[in-house]
Subunit: 290 residues, 2 copies
């Protein structure tokens, strides 16, 4: 089941709506133009993980999109309502969505949706994933030159991300790592790329440069916040595909699926480490609680 | 007012819905991921213009998106219902929309929305528009290499197009002409670029190469279908910005606004020809009826 809670000034803790009935206007610009933003966060035993990081990124996306959205505390209360209204579950996905609203109305439509995560995330983080490298079409410097491309915002315009995933599945893979047209590793359609290398006792985690036009990963951020104390060196790219093939392990990291170990890239096997996955997942979870 | 007609197998001519009430599920992938496609067509005195071209492009977009959508005749009947249900108006916009539907449901959500066009289109085609050249980030060869970028599909993921228009307005312009990262002229966020040159008695209309990743313009197609008989040479790019500055007239062409004459590009005035605009608008309208 899905629980819907709309952010509505008339309801301090959000307005619970019947998710089995239509609740959006057909003229909402979220539906007609993908004109909005979102966040997906994991709630464990009723508590959302790293809610501040998600709300900070939502606010940053809103600013990039010239979208005025409800304040953080309204989102926190609506998310709490959505989680409380859902039958108890060990894990829930709490999705925060806000669109530019109905054309001409001038006010955004904002809601939280709580539901149980699908089974594929757990399966993939246990068994690993096969990925394809796909060209994202942009070079790694365009994000800074062309703010209208919204590269740092998590918008509702996800058709290309979904198409890339369908392309991967049609070609026998599970997921995608986008590359820039100038050959850098960027991100997954719904995840951040992370590599681990162990060289002469030095353990290093590396993720692509933010400036290359990737979304700042809240999970990668949570992991980095605890990994340094655990003895990891932390690095920001640039990464090229060869770095992925040369790493001791590669993951796609995201809020719901957590650390999904990459077991092959473009059909070529790469090392998978259960020990590293377990250690880093623990550090990620620890960082997500803080 | 807006009239909504959903395509529904239980209603041969479409199911009329109350547009003043929510009609979309909040979990529809159109709203949560911009995962769908659309067309906007003009109906004049109750008759949609170039409906076959719009339905053909909708079908092509669906194929690119792996989306199974209702057949053309169902769209035609639903559009006729939407137009008939609307109070009579000289001009109506009939928008056709189809999303991937509610997550897990496996069937698309398809509807037609009829409304009176906003006043800005008429104003802009009369007074002309100031445009900015903005980098679309893609090079002109990526469309053929990377089908997952959906460059030939008219998807609901329009956040970048809307952001480019906001950027233009913030910088004192009305509209945008996108360029490729390798310097070619592409298209407007919601229109096709067209130039006219008159050289030693030879009159030529030119539009960018389709292969460079632009949407095939239904209005440009309608115009080209009648312009040859009126003595115009027809050409497909490549066009570079210098060609725009050197042309005798430049337009952004689209189904609702028709021929909007460009009067400046990046603040630099270019020639505007009322005569050419009138002649070509007439040819466009003629081609749209056939």
């Amino acid at each position: 089941m899905t629980v819907l809670v709309f952010l509505d000034p008339a309801y301090e803790n959000g307005r619970v709506a019947d998710a089995s009935k239509p609740q959006l206007m057909a003229t909402d610009q979220g539906a007609t133009r993908g004109d909005g933003i979102f966040e997906s966060m994991l709630a464990v035993d009723g508590t959302p993980r790293k809610i501040s990081a998600h709300l900070a990124r939502l606010a940053a996306s809103a600013e990039t999109m010239d979208l005025v959205i409800p304040p953080a505390d309204a989102w926190e209360r609506a998310a709490a309502t959505a989680i409380a209204e859902h039958p108890p579950a060990r894990e829930l996905v709490a999705k925060l969505l806000v669109t530019r609203g109905v054309e001409g109305a001038g006010s955004p439509t904002a809601w939280v949706q709580a539901s149980v995560p699908g089974p594929s995330g757990r399966r993939q983080r246990e068994s690993g994933i096969d990925v394809l490298l796909l060209d994202r079409g942009y070079d790694s410097t365009v994000a800074e030159r062309a703010p209208w491309l919204l590269l740092g915002a998590k918008t509702l315009s996800y058709a290309v991300n979904m198409a890339a995933l369908r392309y991967a599945r049609k070609h026998g893979a599970d997921d995608v790592i986008f590359t820039s047209s100038d050959g850098l590793v960027l991100e997954g359609p719904t995840s951040t790329v992370l590599t681990a290398t162990v060289r002469e006792g030095t353990r290093t985690l590396t993720t692509p440069l933010l400036e290359s036009g990737v979304l700042p990963g809240t999970s990668q951020g949570a992991l980095f916040s605890t990994a340094a104390d655990a003895g990891w060196q932390l690095g920001y790219g640039p990464l090229v595909p060869q770095d992925l093939f040369g790493a001791d392990a590669v993951w796609l990291v995201s809020s719901i699926r957590l650390m999904a170990p990459v077991r092959s890239i473009d059909g070529r096997k790469i090392p998978v480490s259960r020990e590293l996955t377990d250690e880093l997942t623990e550090l990620l979870v620890k960082g997500s609680r803080e």
